[in-house]
């Protein structure tokens, strides 16, 4: 119980930082957000492809 209590302020700080980061991301310019989506696609594509899914990362075949 003591351990949980001692963790609480730290967890609160982490959750607040996470929330602040989400708001910062929401405030990005639209083209920057599109770049972020492409990054997410690049990160997740190998996992999805390994599961047999056909995935197209945006702009991949236009380089």
């Amino acid at each position: 119980m003591e351990a949980m209590e001692s963790l609480t302020p730290e967890l609160e700080r982490l959750f607040a930082a996470k929330e602040a980061r989400r708001h910062r991301l929401a405030a990005l310019a639209f083209p920057e957000k599109i770049k972020a989506i492409i990054k997410l696609q690049e990160m997740v594509a190998p996992i999805l492809r390994a599961r047999g899914k056909i995935v197209r990362v945006w702009g991949e075949d236009c380089a």
């Binding site: 639209f30 957000k33 989506i37 696609q41 197209r56 945006w58 075949d61």
Partner: protein, 165 residues
């Protein structure tokens, strides 16, 4: 994506499509944090065909002639899979009419208003729509009065209450 949007504008200028606006996950991303998606939903007013029916066939054919191939339910335009969604009900027609005009870099585009994206998510009603509505409420600047009127007009107030409970 800029080239993709330029092509879409050309399609409107040559009347292959009517007024169009970005919706779906990419439209939502205009207002909230970016999240994973693989296609771009374009809500579009389409000219009526000879049969009197709305059809995507002439649009797909024109895009094919430009070298853009279909992939599942999308057409890949300059590397970006675009799904064209004809305005399928009154809410979407209204959303399209009232879409915001913005710039993507220097390309003029339209994005559905946040309030309409919320209403469409409510109407669609999937679990991912519910999650998206929550993100809109937490992160997106929106006009509460406009949203309330919109929800009343399209009989979505009760669902809004349920989802916000």
């Amino acid at each position: 994506m800029k080239k993709t949007l330029q092509i879409l504008n050309e399609l409107e200028q040559t009347s292959l499509i009517g007024r169009f606006a970005i919706g779906g996950a990419v439209g939502a991303t205009f207002y909230i944090e970016p999240f994973l998606t693989f296609d771009i939903d374009i809500f579009v007013a389409l000219p009526t065909g000879k049969s009197g029916l709305i059809t995507l066939a002439p649009l797909y054919e024109a895009l094919r002639q430009r070298g853009y191939e279909e992939s599942d339910e999308c057409v890949v335009i300059e590397g970006f899979p675009v799904q064209f969604l004809p305005a399928y009900n009154e809410l979407v027609e209204e959303a399209l009419q009232e879409a915001r005009e913005v710039l993507f870099e220097d390309v003029p585009i339209r994005v559905l208003r946040a309030e309409h994206l919320i209403a469409i998510a409510l109407q669609t009603g999937r679990e991912k729509d519910r999650q998206r509505v929550r993100m809109f409420v937490e992160q997106a600047e929106h006009d509460d009065n406009y949203l309330k009127t919109l929800l009343v007009r399209h009989n979505l107030s009760e669902k809004w209450k349920q989802w916000r409970a």
